[in-house]
């Protein structure tokens, strides 16, 4: 199994994800945004401020050359995860429904957050219990997840809500912190599991997130 972490100009969590995966013995590489080669099984769009977040968060990143093949990638039996800015990019790409708005209190929030695992029937969350409380930090100014009523109904019907905030920090609809696509292989979340991947960092609740994805490919 091979993993790739896309590096955009302005990414700042790429190294955290890279080190987390490397620490789990994954064959992982950085993929510069201008490359075309998507020869990996697990692709991570990391947090940060791709292209300075000009216009809207994630709006410019969708035109990066590396993303040309991403729709095709998402249609295969491979895993794609967008964390924070990566989540914003996935919604801009329409690979995930909804959009991320400015936090309700207008503040950039950087703090530990308790999440509830709503759906443990995904490659990323299968090592968690349903309803389990985990701690992943958040660090975002525009993490207020929005989706219209019809879209929310669909998310619920298809069990696409993966993580919810225990104490909603940003005003997200229904406390949503992370969702998955209908096929179950493209996940986006605002909190950072890679920042909770070692006791040295204060918490390793995020490790199982990546371990689950690795186990998904184990029989390949």
């Amino acid at each position: 199994m091979k993993a790739g972490v896309v590096v955009f100009p302005g990414s700042n969590c790429d190294k955290d994800v890279f080190e987390t995966l490397k620490g789990l013995d994954v064959d992982v590489k950085y993929i510069w945004h201008d490359e075309e080669n998507l020869d990996v099984d697990l692709l991570v769009l990391p947090g940060g401020f791709s292209y300075g977040d000009y216009l809207r968060c994630g709006a410019i990143a969708r035109f990066a050359r590396i993303l040309d093949g991403i729709y095709e990638f998402s249609q295969k039996d491979k895993l794609l995860v967008g964390i924070c800015n990566g989540f914003q990019i996935l919604t801009e790409l329409k690979l995930l429904p909804g959009a991320l708005l400015r936090n309700k209190n207008l503040k950039f929030i950087c703090e530990d957050c308790t999440l509830i695992v709503e759906n443990n029937n995904t490659p990323f969350t299968k090592l968690y219990e349903k309803g389990e409380a985990v701690n992943f930090p958040i660090a975002h100014g525009e993490g207020n997840y929005f989706i219209d009523e019809e879209g929310l109904k669909k998310l619920k019907e298809n069990n696409q809500i993966v993580f919810k905030y225990r104490n909603n920090p940003n005003g997200s609809v229904e406390d949503i912190a992370g969702i998955i696509n209908k096929n179950g292989n493209v996940l986006g979340l605002m909190p950072h599991p890679e920042r909770a991947s070692s006791k040295l960092l204060g918490c390793d609740d995020g490790t199982r997130f990546f371990k689950g994805a690795i186990e998904y490919f184990k029989d390949w």
Partner: protein, 79 residues
């Protein structure tokens, strides 16, 4: 030819920035019902037929300049 585009959050979307500014205006003593904050974008185009320019600007808005999930836009052209 120049296009002046105004991007605003849809009416149904809460605009916390606008709400904060509204509070500020009220504190200054102004009787304000509501404030919405948006973005102003100016795009300079080659000279062309108005119809063609309108079509292009709509395309640009829908492809990149706005996110139709949360935003809406208006524009005017100046020759």
């Amino acid at each position: 030819m120049k296009a002046y585009i105004d991007v605003t959050l849809k009416e149904s979307i809460l605009d916390p920035q606008g709400a904060a500014v509204k509070e500020g205006l009220i504190k200054l003593g102004y009787d304000v019902e509501g404030v919405r904050i948006g973005k102003h974008i100016e795009v300079e185009l080659m000279d062309m037929e108005i119809n063609e320019a309108e079509k292009l600007i709509r395309e640009m808005c829908e492809k990149l300049l706005i996110n139709p999930v949360i935003e809406t836009y208006t524009f005017r052209l100046e020759v």
